[in-house]
Every structure is written in structure tokens, then in C-alpha cells.
């Protein structure tokens, strides 16, 4: 195999002992690097390098006709922030609300799958994962049907006077749900719910059920058991789930576009239209970096606060 003259196949333990302590030949030490090379090169060229390129674009000025030049024009950032801060604030608010809703909705389902589903576990699991494989744009469009003006959902909410309350809170407008913040948050929650459920389930499944019995034996009520045992032990899942939900939700522009109106535009919508319609690349680049910085800052604070730094 190697260039060093290898004796006949080691017969028995003596041979194995001789080969073991020998230094690994250089060719073998290079194996991991050869394995990494193509994939990492791909990521460097098509992921890391574009980000650097994007950074330089954000400080360029010029126009599409004359071409863009790096002029270290940092004012783009201030202008972008000055003009689009409402969309920034809205993105964070919507994404945070959707994340909290995902946690509230997802936790019972993850708990159900982990501890109570029994032989139904696989069926429930399939029902959680399968929607993933249908085009999510089609499913988001289905929400248009569900929340349609004069549809059953609006009808029920209206007869229960829920819409009066929500429109007073500014979540809906008049008798409709579509093209209101409620619809966008509903779509965001729906689209990112599986990203919350799966990590929650993974961390709940790892909990030894005997811990629940032990808590019960020590006269803890179910609620106390949950608060003192189950929930703290599921924290890695909670943190992973909230991050997996919040980050893509903050940058999403599909829900705001399909279920909202111009009053619900999020920062993703602005980046998309700056890049693809207005063709103002520096502003689009500056907005992307502002979004990234905001998310990075919030994620860092969150991870510090939740005390699971080993997670990332």
C-alpha cells in the first residue's frame, strides 16, 4: 500500500503491534484535505467570496449605464437605514412574533410525538415532514384561499368579534384578514413551524422518561415537572428551533408579498426589489449587510442569555 516496504501481511498480534506506532505516511495525512478540497472550494468560491464581493458592492457608487466603482461611499448604509428602518423594525417584529407562535404551537406537538404518540409516532412524524415536500409557494397560496374575504375563517372570527379586537390592536383592518399583519405572521408561522418542531422533538426525545417518573415520585405536579425538568432539558432544542425559525423568517419576502400588501413589506421585499427591479445594487448590498448584522447581533445576545453557548 505505502511506499515503505511493508512486510508480509501481519500474522497475528505481533505484526499489528509493529505497524500501530509507526508514523502515518504523508500521503495518509493528506487524505482529509483531499476529501475537503472540492466541497470547501465550492463554498469559498460561491458562498464566502460573494459575501466579500457584496461588501465591496455596498460601498460603490455609480449607475447601471456607467458602471459601478468602489468609492468607499459609506453613506449608502445611512441612506438605506434612514429610508427603510420601518421595514427593518417590521421584519424583526413579524419574525419574532412568528417565532414565539411557532414555539407555542410547536412545543405541544413535539411533546406529543416524543412522549404520547406511541405507535402513532411515525404517522404524526410523516404528517409533520410531508408538507415539506410539497411546494411551499403552493401552500402559501392556499392560505389566500383559507383567509379569503368572506371565507369561513373570516366569518368565524368575525362572529366571535375577534376581528374587532385585532383591528383595534392594528393587526387586521376592518372585516378582512388578508393583506394585514395577521395574515403575514400567520403565513410566516406556518412556513417555519417544521423548523421549530424537529429540533424540539430531537431534544425532547433524548430526555429519559424515568426523570418524569422520578419527579412524580417526589410529588411534583405535572406542571412543576414540566417547568423544572422537561423544559430546562429541552433548552438546546428551544434555542436551535428559535434560531432556525427567526433567521429565515426575518429575511423572508414571500409571505409578505403573497399574503400582505404594500403596508406589510419586510426588509426581504426591499432587498429583492432593489436588486431585481430598481437595479440599485449598492443599496441592496448595504441592506443585506444591515440585515446580517442585525441578525448576528440578536443571535449573539440570545445565545448568551439562554446560556447554551456550546450550541453554535
Amino acid at each position: 500500500m505505502t511506499t515503505t516496504a511493508t512486510p508480509a501481511p501481519p500474522d497475528g498480534q505481533a505484526g499489528a503491534e509493529v505497524t500501530a506506532p509507526r508514523r502515518t505516511p504523508a500521503r495518509k495525512r493528506l487524505v482529509p484535505y483531499w476529501l475537503l478540497l472540492p466541497g470547501i472550494l465550492w463554498l469559498i468560491v460561491f458562498f464566502a467570496a460573494p459575501l466579500v464581493y457584496q461588501a465591496s458592492t455596498s460601498v460603490q457608487t455609480g449607475s447601471l449605464e456607467e458602471g459601478f466603482k468602489v468609492t468607499w461611499h459609506f453613506a449608502t448604509y445611512w441612506d438605506a437605514l434612514g429610508e427603510y428602518w420601518p421595514q427593518f423594525v417590521r421584519s424583526v417584529l413579524y419574525a419574532a412574533t412568528a417565532t414565539v407562535l411557532c414555539l407555542l404551537l410547536g412545543y405541544p406537538l413535539a411533546y406529543l410525538i416524543a412522549f404520547k404518540a406511541g405507535r402513532w409516532r411515525n404517522v404524526v412524524m410523516i404528517l409533520v415532514i410531508a408538507p415539506f415536500f410539497t411546494s411551499f409557494l403552493i401552500r402559501t397560496l392556499a392560505w389566500k384561499t383559507i383567509l379569503a374575504d368572506g371565507g369561513p375563517v373570516v366569518g368565524v372570527l368575525n362572529s366571535l368579534h375577534v376581528l374587532d379586537v385585532t383591528s383595534w390592536l392594528g393587526l387586521t383592518e376592518g372585516q378582512r384578514v388578508l393583506a394585514t399583519p395577521l395574515a403575514v405572521v400567520c403565513g410566516l408561522t406556518y412556513n417555519f413551524l417544521p423548523f421549530m418542531i424537529l429540533p424540539l422533538y430531537t431534544s425532547l426525545e433524548r430526555i429519559d422518561p424515568r426523570l418524569h417518573e422520578a419527579a412524580g415520585d417526589l410529588y411534583a405536579r405535572p406542571a412543576t415537572t414540566f417547568r423544572r425538568v422537561t423544559f430546562p432539558l429541552s433548552m438546546p432544542g428551544v434555542v436551535a428551533g428559535t434560531l432556525l425559525t427567526f433567521i429565515p423568517a426575518a429575511g423572508d419576502y414571500i409571505n409578505a408579498e403573497l399574503l400582505g400588501s404594500t403596508d406589510q413589506k419586510m426588509i426581504g421585499n426591499v432587498i429583492q426589489s432593489q436588486f431585481l427591479r430598481v437595479l440599485d445594487y449598492p443599496t441592496a448590498a448595504a441592506l443585506s449587510f444591515l440585515l446580517m448584522a442585525a441578525i448576528l447581533a440578536m443571535v449573539t445576545i440570545y445565545i448568551r442569555k439562554s446560556g447554551t453557548e456550546d450550541l453554535v
Partner: protein, 282 residues
């Protein structure tokens, strides 16, 4: 204990019974509600695939019809975009799975200097909003003067699927018992034989789930494709465009078919897994 039981029995007979049942099953009920929330749009898509809308938009129920099912390709460009998306997803899966599996093995099996850096580079694409990745890659292509189309989409898809494959395969390889490979070597298997007959079969479920995930991600991706496709229209982009122009019922047919195929695949996978487990036990 006996006293306790009798009090419970009497309490059960009081009108509080419903309330107690509710309290005991509140988690299950809440979970099932969430499940309903998750599945509801799929049901709506299914039901509305049998609709016959009056206008261009398929948002309101008019009357039952199987027209769309008997002619799923009856809309211009729909099946073309579907074929393109399938092709893209296939190649992207192949590329991402091969590259990702190699990285996963390197990370799981070897200690080397750049390990922490590589881990970060793998983690970042999953933790970054898609718009940011999409816009920056498109900026690069634009400045290099590369024509947008099939190849730029494929490059982008392999890029963002890679991390998910690495994560899936790495988890599997890390939990693998290294003694199995040692045993194979002790039995005079060559490194190639060991890899093909022992390592690969054990890692296969991880590779399969990574591949399946990247197929689904690539097939369904809209944001990154939107920035890097130019005038090429994939299936999600067709759906996006139809949201403005008018949604044909055929979109619901394809959505329903995708859902059913996915469920069938997962069920078959589960059954195969269960059978393997059973045969191993006996």
C-alpha cells in the same frame, strides 16, 4: 392509597369530569391542533385541485370538476418548468451529496488543523438569511459577466444544499462504531473493500437523508433561484409568477401529486426501515 382512589372516583362522577379530561389531555389536543394547522393548506390544495374557477384565480370554490387532473400539462410552460426543476434538483442532489459526504467523512474521521474553520464555513450558509446569500451570489455572477440560467441556478443550489448534506452524514458517521471497520481490516479486507462493504452501508441512511433533504430543498427553492435564474423559469418561479397573473388549477394538481408522492416515499421508507429492524432482531 385506597382513600385517594375513592376520592378520585367520586370526583370523576361530578360534572367536573369534562374539565378533568381536558386538563389531562390538553397537550395532546394542542398538539393535534398544531398538526391540523400544518396539514390544513395541503387539504385546501387538494380540494381546490377539483375546482373549476370562473376567473383566472383559483381562490374561491366554484364547482367540482376533474378537468385539471385529466390535463395536468394543459397550461403553457407549466410542465416545462416542472421538468427543469426536477432536472436541477437531481443534479444539485448528486453534486451536493458527493461533495457533502466527502466533507462529512473528513470532519468525522480526521483531526486536522483547519477543522474549526471548516465547521464554521459549513454552519454559516444554514444560519444566513437566504436573501443575503442570493443577492451576493447574483452580484458575483453579474460582475463576472456570467450568463444567468441553468448553470448559475445549479451552482447556487449545490452551494446551499451542501451544508445540509454534511450535517446529516456527519451525524451518522460520528455515531458509527469504529471497531466495525477495524474488524473488517482484521479479516483482511482491503481499505477499498472495507469502505464499500462496511463503511458505506452503515453511513447510507445518513447519506440518503442528506440527499432527500437536498432534493426537496433544491426543488422547492424560490428565493435563491429568483436572484440567480435570469429568465429561466423553474417550477417555484412559475408558481410565483402565476400568483400575479392568475393561478391555473393545474398547480393544485401538481401540489397534490407532490404531497401524495412524498407521503408514499416516506411511508415506504419507514416500512423498509421497520422490516430491516425486525429482520435484524430475529
Amino acid at each position: 392509597m385506597a382513600v385517594h382512589e375513592t376520592t378520585e372516583a367520586t370526583a370523576a362522577r361530578t360534572p367536573n369530569r369534562g374539565l378533568r379530561w381536558l386538563r389531562r389531555n390538553i397537550v395532546t389536543l394542542a398538539g393535534l391542533c398544531t398538526l391540523g394547522y400544518l396539514v390544513l393548506p395541503n387539504l385546501v390544495v387538494m380540494v381546490f385541485s377539483f375546482n373549476k374557477p370562473n376567473g383566472r384565480f383559483n381562490y374561491q370554490w366554484q364547482r367540482f370538476s376533474t378537468d385539471a387532473w385529466s390535463d395536468p400539462c394543459g397550461v403553457a410552460d407549466l410542465c416545462g418548468s416542472l421538468g427543469l426543476s426536477l432536472q436541477l434538483a437531481l443534479w444539485a442532489t448528486l453534486g451536493a451529496t458527493v461533495l457533502g459526504t466527502m466533507i462529512a467523512f473528513a470532519l468525522a474521521r480526521y483531526r486536522f488543523r483547519a477543522r474549526a474553520g471548516v465547521n464554521t464555513l459549513i454552519f454559516l450558509p444554514m444560519a444566513m438569511p437566504e436573501v443575503v446569500m442570493a443577492a451576493s451570489l447574483a452580484t458575483l455572477f453579474l460582475n463576472m459577466g456570467i450568463q444567468f440560467g441553468f448553470w448559475t441556478i445549479l451552482i447556487a443550489h449545490i452551494m446551499f444544499c451542501l451544508s445540509f448534506v454534511v450535517t446529516a452524514v456527519k451525524a451518522r458517521v460520528m455515531s458509527m462504531d469504529p471497531r466495525l471497520e477495524q474488524a473488517a481490516q482484521d479479516l483482511y479486507a482491503s481499505p477499498v473493500q472495507t469502505f464499500l462493504r462496511v463503511t458505506l452501508p452503515i453511513a447510507a441512511p445518513g447519506i440518503a437523508s442528506g440527499a432527500l433533504l437536498s432534493f426537496a430543498l433544491s426543488f422547492d427553492d424560490f428565493i435563491i433561484t429568483n436572484f440567480n435564474a435570469g429568465s429561466t423559469v423553474t417550477f417555484p418561479m412559475f408558481v410565483w409568477g402565476s400568483a400575479q397573473r392568475g393561478t391555473p388549477v393545474q398547480i393544485n394538481v401538481i401540489g397534490t401529486a407532490m404531497f401524495l408522492i412524498a407521503v408514499a416515499c416516506v411511508v415506504v421508507g419507514q416500512l423498509a426501515g421497520a422490516r430491516r429492524k425486525r429482520s435484524k432482531r430475529s
